[in-house]
Amino acid sequence: MNESFRLLPESASSVAASTDALYFFLCAISAFFTLLIFGLVFYFAVKYRRRSAEPPPRLAASNALEAFWTLVPFGIALVIFFWGAKLYFHISRPPSDAMDIYVIGKQWMWKVQHPNGRREINELHVPLGRAVRVTLSSQDVIHSFYVPAFRIKQDAVPGRYTVTWFRPIRAGIYHLFCAEYCGTYHSHMIGRVVVLEPERYQAWLSGTPLDEAPEEAGASLFATLGCITCHGARAPTLAGLYGSEVRLADGGTARADEQYIRESILDSTAKIVSGYPPIMPSFRNQLTEEQLFDLLAYIKSLKDPLEKRKAQE
């Protein structure tokens, strides 16, 4: 019974306590107003129950009272709004030292790609105490990456990337649910997040032979798809591209983030780089989500040669 009955989920990430704090505050506010309304209704119902044929007195309307019970709830609502928003911004912004994990939702499984090339299905091993940035996409319909013990949830949407992050603070095994209805076996799309002590995580990492790292897989794709024949000569070089501002033919600029790179591969004429002819073919429907992640990892790994030299010196 103790195992099967509890009021709060496990608390295993750095944000869980903050989410619970706001939750408790909301519970307190709700309990107060629920008791207030139930109490008043019950009290009035007993005290003013009908006992005589005398009509009740006429009460004048009160603007002061109306203003009071408009402004007090508004004030409370503002507090909740700011508190909730602050927490949301914290949850939405991964810290800069976070390690990257790529997760693809697919009917009905979670496919996980680790930075060193390891791949898992319906399991995600992460080291304790390290911030983990999860970049999500979907191969078919919308799914939602939900770890109740971490109090985080983010939809995985086909055709775009979404990001969430967490920092596990307790070793253990936690549910990974799909929270967005995705068809027949939606309720079987359950995985687990395994939080390991750093040394055990290292052991796990080296425990089995590694798959090819995404950068390497991406590099060979870059060659086999023929990208290499144009980029650098007739097309813009990709070295140092990731994170930079790109000047576009229409006079505007664009930030070369994951979404931009994805769009440029799949819909190559959407944003034309200034000074280059729009000759690149579209790769829509020719690449799997895994291949896109691999290409992305490769392009991100290409540093600007000048900066690289500076860093070495």
């Binding site: 009021l7 629920t34 009460l59 019970w69 709830p73 909730g84 939900y146 939606h186 309720s187």
Partner: protein, 544 residues
């Protein structure tokens, strides 16, 4: 409690009920009261069909393993439960039944402005309902009532097209009803019935009608696009052909969030009629309660994005939608305070409609307060798409709206049928509904915060205790819903004659015989005072 004063039996005078007995006299009726009865029969049918689906869902969830029905069947069950309850029960419920019956009577009019349009709206409703039932028997539909793309437009193998056509068609009945109400309220008020003297039920339906007219077309368009994408593969929502799945969510919730207010505003209107009558008091803050209905209707159009906090929309959009969601909460809170204040120094009696109104007050308050949780961005990240949300909207829709509907049905039953319902058994079943409801849905708040996602056919073992509690509550709730069906039908034959005004209520509808004659009023009434001048009336049912 002294028994009700006996009233003379219903005489041979002409009423809307005995104006004709042929099937044709009902199916071609232009009388708003008869059309209201047609709607009563149809939505009651849909309510019990939707309830049967819910029963199967709750039975399945008693065990963690999906062992009663297959996953596909389960997905169809919760989808059909949602579609039928929302589009074929909750949205038409109070407006099409009590609204149809009462709007002309409360205004002192003979009928709605467009009686033929009114009949047409019922036929359209039935056509949409039949199409949807065709979808059910031809294999069902499994998209969830929200029809999220690209699942609905490119992946589901079920009867999505027939269903969206059914819902699309039904939307027109809603638009026609809204149009009819707005024109009627503007043009057919009795002499002296100024806007400041309108009953709050009329104000709430006025606000509801605005949403019906402005929101429903957007739903119709989005569902039509889902159908078009399924059939012609036009790339609107499916990213594989260049579409954007989030666009659908924006379009869908642009209607479907305001639709929540289509469902709850009429309930608020009913409660605003019941509480003054059984407290013998003028409603506290008439103007504020009336205006808050309009405020809810307008602000309700600006909050749809709060369904999408974890969808990948910009965090700044989330910020704006969260703020606006708190704004829309304020008028609801103000209403609750005004209803409670109306009880102060009243002369309160405890007939069934009042018990339902109390139930509404409590459950709507709890549903509204848990709305603060889901509007709080950081907390919603955790509870979105879990049972917390399921519990929250059932507190509003079932705890609030269905309680108000049942309260209204009991309150106006004497007017509609000319007969009294049996008071004690009705009180008993009101308690059963309240108890069963809380036992069903309160555990789901806990379940949701624990992390159980919604729409799960099977679930991890640790969630079982709360699910069993919820299913047990549902069986009690079912009894509470079947009882009124039985005793109200029985009262048509065995009920005491009600007389024109059994509650000694204000309101023009009580100033004509029960059941009313086809023309409603022998002569057009003239209004000289506000809607709730109970202090000038005799106080009935005095308890010593």
């Amino acid at each position: 409690m002294t028994p009700l004063e006996p009233s003379p039996p219903v005489t041979a005078r002409e009423t809307y009920l005995n104006a004709g007995y042929s099937l044709k006299s009902w199916l071609l009726a232009l009388d708003h009261k008869r059309i209201a009865i047609l709607y009563f029969v149809s939505i009651t049918l849909f309510f019990f069909v939707g309830g049967a689906f819910a029963t199967l869902v709750r039975l399945e969830l008693m065990t963690p393993r999906g062992d009663l029905v297959s996953s596909d069947t389960y997905n169809k069950l919760f989808t059909m439960h949602g579609i039928i309850m929302i589009f074929f029960f909750l949205i038409p419920s109070i407006p099409a039944t009590l609204g149809n019956f009462l709007v002309p009577m409360m205004l002192g009019a003979r009928d709605l402005a467009f009686p033929r349009l009114n009949l047409l709206s019922w036929y359209i409703f039935v056509a949409g309902g039949v199409l949807t039932m065709v979808a059910v028997v031809s294999g069902g539909v499994d998209t969830g009532w929200t029809f999220y793309t690209p699942y609905s437009s490119a992946f589901s193998n079920t009867s999505v097209v027939v269903t969206v056509v059914g819902v699309f068609v039904t939307g027109f009945s809603s638009i026609l009803t809204g149009l009819n109400f707005i024109v009627t309220i503007h043009t057919l008020r009795a002499p002296g019935l100024t806007w400041g003297r309108l009953p709050l039920f009329i104000w709430s339906l006025y606000a509801t009608s605005i949403i019906m007219i402005l929101g429903t077309p957007v739903l119709a368009i989005s569902l039509a696009l889902v159908g078009a994408e399924r059939i012609f593969h036009v790339g609107i929502f499916d990213p594989a052909s260049g579409g954007d799945p989030l666009l659908f969510q924006h379009l869908f919730w642009y209607y479907s969030h305001p639709a929540v207010y289509i469902m709850i505003l009429p309930g608020m209107g009913v409660v605003s009629e019941i509480i003054p009558c059984f407290a013998r008091k003028n409603i506290f803050g008439y103007g504020v309660v009336a205006l808050s209905s309009l405020a809810i209707a307008f602000t309700g159009f600006l909050v749809w994005g709060h369904h999408m906090f974890v969808s990948g929309q910009s965090v700044y959009s989330g910020l704006v939608f969260s703020f606006l969601s708190y704004l829309v909460a304020i008028p609801s809170a103000v209403k609750v305070f005004n209803w409670t204040a109306t009880l102060y120094k009243g002369s309160i009696s405890f007939h069934t409609p009042m018990l339902y109104a109390f139930g509404f007050l409590g459950l709507f308050t709890m549903g509204g307060l848990t709305g603060l949780f889901v509007a709080a961005l950081g907390v919603d990240v955790h509870v979105h798409d879990t049972y917390f949300v399921v519990a929250h909207f059932h507190y509003i829709m079932v705890g609030g709206m269905v309680m108000a509907y049942l309260g209204g049905v009991h309150f106006w039953w004497p007017k509609i049928s000319g007969r009294m319902y049996p008071e004690w058994i009705a009180r008993f079943s009101a308690f059963v509904v309240f108890l069963g409801f809380n036992l069903t849905f309160f555990p789901q708040y806990v379940l949701g915060y624990l992390g159980m996602p919604r729409r799960y056919h099977s679930y991890p073992d640790e969630f079982q205790v709360l699910n069993v509690l919820s299913s047990a509550g549902a069986s009690i709730l079912a009894v509470g819903y079947v009882l009124p069906l039985i005793y109200l039908l029985a009262s048509l034959k065995y009920g005491k004659a009600a007389g024109p005004n059994p509650w000694i209520a204000t309101g023009l509808e009580w100033q004509t015989p029960s059941p009313p004659p086809t023309s409603n009023f022998p002569t057009t009434p003239t209004v000289t005072a506000g809607p709730y001048e109970y202090q000038d009336m005799e106080v009935p049912f005095v308890q010593r």
